[in-house]
Amino acid sequence: MALTAAVPFWRAAGMTYITYSNICANLVRNCLKEPHRAESLAREKVHFSLSKWADGKAQKPVLRSDAPEV
């Protein structure tokens, strides 16, 4: 009885499929010719603000942004 089914190497190393897929996409984007490369890397930019709530009030928000600081 195989207790460890044949898993892909990235899952054996603790990576999830979505992480693997995003890494592959990032590598492909880095190999593109110039105008396409800049456009596609712009797609990877992330901008979000996260705040935890305690006692019905929002705590200080955490901002993650790839956009330049205004």
């Binding site: 190497f9 990235w10 054996a12 190393a13 603790g14 990576m15 693997y20 897929s21 995003n22 890494i23 592959c24 996409a25 590598l27 492909v28 984007r29 880095n30 190999c31 593109l32 010719k33 110039e34 396409h36 490369r37 596609s40 797609r43």
Partner: protein
């Protein structure tokens, strides 16, 4: 008389609320998933309560599979930021499944295939359009509709060969110097993707 009333009441209640069970005549190929022996024994034990419904009672009927194989494959090729092809009728697509290049013709057996980084080619008459896919899935349905999803798909002309060589050398070097499992996995992914692009450009 009261026993009759409760029986009649539960019968009409059951008919009204289990509409999805009685109107299933229209669902084309879903077999009746109602287990009649279970329903009967339920009614003996709890005649006033409807038998529990199963998830399949809430499913919309599947699209019907035509009895004769269609002549064209309908392809929906989508990326997170754009729909490359929507309902395009083609003769064949070749997808880079993890088990190798897979040719999909109309009437292909329903399959879910995980894709590895590689070339997908769409064949329409004599036109062949190729894309390099970063990874994704291909869902092939019984009615000759293929849904292909990937995160990045680029035409081969958009790839810069010098960047690919640089990337390959860099990741091969990282693979030898990697220490943790995660670093090794990342370097391995880098080597695989760049080798696949190299093979795509030269093949």
């Amino acid at each position: 008389m009261f026993k009759q009333a409760s029986r009649l009441l539960s019968r009409s209640v059951a008919a009204a609320s289990s509409k999805s069970v009685t109107t299933r005549a229209f669902s084309s190929e879903v077999p009746s998933t109602i287990d009649s022996t279970f329903v009967e024994s339920w009614k003996k034990v709890a005649p006033n309560m409807d038998p529990p419904q199963t998830p399949s009672a809430f499913m919309k009927p599947r699209p019907s599979t035509p009895s004769s194989i269609p002549t064209k494959l309908t392809v929906n090729f989508v990326l997170p930021y754009a729909s490359e092809l929507t309902g395009k009728e083609v003769d064949m697509v070749i997808i880079p499944a993890t088990t190798g290049q897979m040719g999909v013709l109309p009437g292909h057996v329903p399959t879910i295939a995980e894709l590895k980084p590689g070339i997908m080619s769409v064949h329409e008459g004599t036109d062949v359009k190729k894309y390099f896919l970063s990874s994704g899935f291909a869902l092939l349905h019984a009615n000759s509709v293929a849904d292909i999803i990937a995160i990045e798909a680029v035409p081969l002309e958009h790839i810069d060969p010098s960047q690919v060589q640089k990337g390959l050398a860099e990741f091969q070097q990282k693979l030898t110097s990697a220490t943790t499992d995660l670093e090794k996995a990342e370097a391995q992914i880098g080597v695989e993707v760049h080798s696949a692009i190299n093979a795509a450009l030269s093949g």
